[in-house]
């Protein structure tokens, strides 16, 4: 019995974190936010050397054959650095192909993702929350309609998406029948787009229909990774708050010696530590007890969203006016936590789904 990270896991996380410190510092993030998208390319290139795209690809297809826990640790490091690096969409697509794809599809796509000749985007928003008349209708191997908040579609070659009946599809993003428009969000570290399809050719994954287990599993992975991303972002915000409180003086003493500030930091830590344990446990169960994955993912993401909202605000308050400015850049974390909260289901939606999964609704 051991509920702790292995040496390998710790090494993986620290190597990602170390690389990010060099190639994805706050300065880099600021440049990306200012529109220098080539910086993102450089970050992705540096991370590619660590094998992030290969992480979830089975060894039989040339990958590292690691699991959701390792992916969550990587994502936590990305959140810690509010890194613009591509990872989440590719992880979701990999999982979908592994779960839903035929053997032939797996043999075709997984090695291509593994070597980087295919870069995957993901558009699953409408499988959770349909707004603005969005949704893709599948007919005779083609998709028609629109999907919002496609992740990383502007730089990917292919897309994982789902139709209104829950079937998963892969789409070549160079198809001329696709119109892509950027969607600007508060979180300038991620690129979302709207995709409009007009009888766009799509390859259905496996023979799955509505509410397929593969879709549920893919969503579960996405939610666990978003929870991990928020965890990392919170950890950094807490660390920054403690450092600021220990250094900033008012009324002749460091503000961290005032009980009000001290307790704000203590409350953040008190919420964050169990939250970290929950993220680890969810990811571990995703790999070891798949039947628990969907529930745990809903609980982990909804809980981390609530903790994240608290930490984002409280850390900003500890920083006083400085937290509100762009000078320390705290808002990049604040906004990433805010965006994570809404994608693939806000807390209320996820808790309702958790109730359904347990037969409580």
């Amino acid at each position: 019995m051991e509920f702790a990270l292995s040496e390998d896991q710790l090494m993986l996380q620290s190597s990602v974190q170390g690389t990010l410190e060099n190639v994805s510092s706050l300065d880099h993030v600021r440049r990306v936010a200012a529109g220098e998208h080539e910086v993102t390319g450089a970050i992705n290139a540096a991370l590619a050397e660590l094998g992030l795209a290969q992480l979830l690809i089975p060894e039989t297809h040339g990958g590292l054959g690691l699991g959701a826990l390792e992916a969550a640790l990587v994502q936590e490091a990305l959140g810690f650095a509010v890194s613009p690096a591509a990872f989440l969409a590719s992880a979701l697509a990999t999982e979908a192909i592994k779960s839903a794809g035929t053997e032939a599809q797996q043999s075709q796509w997984l090695p291509a993702i593994n070597t980087g000749t295919v870069r995957m985007a993901a558009a699953l928003t409408e499988t959770v929350s349909t707004r603005e008349g969005a949704g893709l209708v599948a007919e005779n191997g083609h998709l028609t309609g629109k999907t919002l908040f496609a992740l990383e579609a502007d730089t990917a070659t292919h897309l994982l998406t789902a139709d209104t009946a829950g079937g998963l599809h892969l789409v070549d993003l160079t198809a001329p029948t696709i119109t892509q428009s950027p969607l600007e969000t508060i979180d300038q570290t991620r690129r979302y787009t709207e995709l409009v399809f007009d009888k766009t050719a799509a390859e259905p994954l496996g023979q799955n229909g509505a509410g397929s287990p593969a879709l549920q599993r893919t969503l579960a992975l996405g939610r666990i990774l978003l929870a991990a991303d928020t965890l990392g972002a919170c950890q950094n915000m807490l660390g920054k708050a403690i450092a600021y409180a220990a250094e900033r003086k008012q009324f002749g003493r460091v503000i961290g010696s005032f009980q009000a500030v001290k307790h704000m930091c203590a409350e953040m830590a008190a919420k964050l530590e169990p939250a970290r344990s929950l993220v680890w446990h969810s990811a571990y169960l995703f790999d070891t007890e798949p039947e628990k994955a969907a529930l745990m993912a809903c609980l982990a993401k909804s809980h981390l969203s609530e903790v994240g909202t608290f930490v984002a605000r409280t850390s900003t308050e500890v920083h006083g006016g400085m937290g509100f400015t762009d000078l320390v850049g705290l808002h990049y974390w604040f906004k990433r936590i805010g965006a994570n909260r809404q994608w693939l289901g806000g807390p209320e939606i996820l808790r309702a789904e958790a109730a359904r999964l347990q037969g409580w609704a």
Partner: protein, 397 residues
């Protein structure tokens, strides 16, 4: 208790409403950019002449000269809200400097500055906070050394809104470095064109530069440009800080926000159903409605106390803390209700209400922090309102 207005006030309301309706064409629109756009200045002049702004400022200083009447002020505010027309100017010059000069300025200062400020011809900014002096404002270190007939000012201010547009600044400067912290500060007014002033915009989390940093390098200000006595600037400034605190936490703004969210939830859909059909979102909405109504009723209590020239006590002390928090929570609900659409920001498809919910969510957090953080507010409530002891003095390290 009687919340009805007496007939004279209903008459007054009708007059204000008629005046606004008849002159709506004079009002500037958002297309008339620039704080000194001729249409804006003309509108301000019209409003002053008809007592719809600068109402209680004496006519000798360019105001309308009416006796203070809180109900009339409230009626004017309500009628502006109904009409949708822009209100009179309310920059820091008008809301903070003018009351200060009226109370503590010399005759010359009043004559020089109040009228052009009211007319919008002279725009002011405030130089109080410094990077090292936020909650502990009295620890400010920008210094003014006497050299002949001038103060020579060196140092830095922060959180200065409209610094770029301002003609003048009212500024706290430490002129007597050996005096105790709350003494030795002077309140100076000077032109933003004085040599040695540098302005750097301060971008904040909303993405805009709502504030600036202002740097002073050997800025020479004649000693006559002091308000009040040398070394008494802290007391001068506190008179106006009171004005600033009173401005925050407007309960009518909170109700408008609540109604906007209710409307949003009735029109926007999630998975085909209006958001208002979601019992969880609805429950949050109603929970906040109760708080909005509570703050509104509390505002009536505070206003009644002012009418009677009594202290509103605790009911007044809690306004900033509770009001800012409530507005922040309202914005949070709107964002959560909109889900993915709630994080859109900037000029982008599908954005709702121009992204104002995100803007408010962030800006309100700034308000929770600014002008006395939530922690400072709780100290004030506990110490002044509940008579709990102040933070004890520390032993020397």
């Amino acid at each position: 208790m009687d919340l009805a207005l007496s007939p004279e006030f209903e008459t007054f309301r009708a007059e204000v409403a008629a005046l606004l309706t008849a002159n709506a064409d004079k009002a500037p629109t958002s297309a008339d950019r620039g704080m000194k756009h001729p249409k804006r200045l003309a509108w301000q002049k019209f409003l002053i002449e008809h007592g719809l702004t600068a109402r209680t400022i004496p006519t000798e200083y360019g105001g309308y000269g009416a006796a203070p009447d809180i109900l009339q002020s409230r009626i004017i505010a309500e009628e502006f809200a109904k009409s949708g027309l822009p209100r009179g100017l309310a920059g820091q010059g008008i809301s903070m400097l003018v009351p200060t000069l009226l109370e503590l300025g010399t005759d010359q200062q009043k004559a020089d500055w109040i009228a052009p400020t009211l007319r919008g011809e002279t725009i002011w900014c405030q130089g109080y906070s410094e990077p090292g002096s936020g909650s502990d404002l009295a620890s400010l270190t920008t210094r003014g050394e006497i050299d002949g007939e001038d103060y020579v000012i060196n140092g830095q201010k922060i959180w200065t809104s409209t610094a770029k547009q301002a003609d003048m600044i009212f500024c706290l400067v430490r002129t007597e470095p050996d005096a105790k912290k709350h003494h030795g500060i002077s309140y100076l007014i000077f032109s933003m064109d004085t040599p040695g002033i540098e302005i750097r915009p301060l971008v904040d989390m909303t993405g805009a530069a709502n504030f600036n940093e202002v740097f002073f390098t050997d800025v020479r200000v004649p000693r006559s440009q002091i308000v009040g006595e040398p070394g008494k600037g802290w007391q001068v400034a506190n008179a106006t800080l009171t004005h600033e605190r009173g401005m925050l936490g407007d309960p009518n703004a909170a109700e408008a926000r609540l109604l906007a969210i209710a409307e949003l939830m009735k029109t926007e859909t999630l998975n085909g159903a209006p958001l208002i059909d979601n019992p969880l979102l609805r429950d949050r909405l109603i929970r906040l409605q109760a708080e909005v109504y509570a703050m509104q009723a509390n505002g009536l209590r505070v206003m009644t106390a002012r009418l009677k020239k009594e202290s509103a006590g605790l009911a007044g002390l809690i306004v900033k803390l509770q009001g800012c928090e409530l507005n922040h929570e309202l914005a949070r609900l709107a964002i959560d209700a909109l889900g993915e659409l709630g994080v859109l920001y900037g000029e982008t498809p599908y954005i709702k209400d121009n992204g104002s919910w995100q803007w408010r969510y962030m800006y309100d957090l700034g308000l929770i922090i600014g002008g006395g953080t939530a922690q400072i507010q709780k100290n004030i409530i506990a110490e002044r309102g509940l008579a709990l002891p102040r933070e004890p003095r520390l032993a020397k390290a």
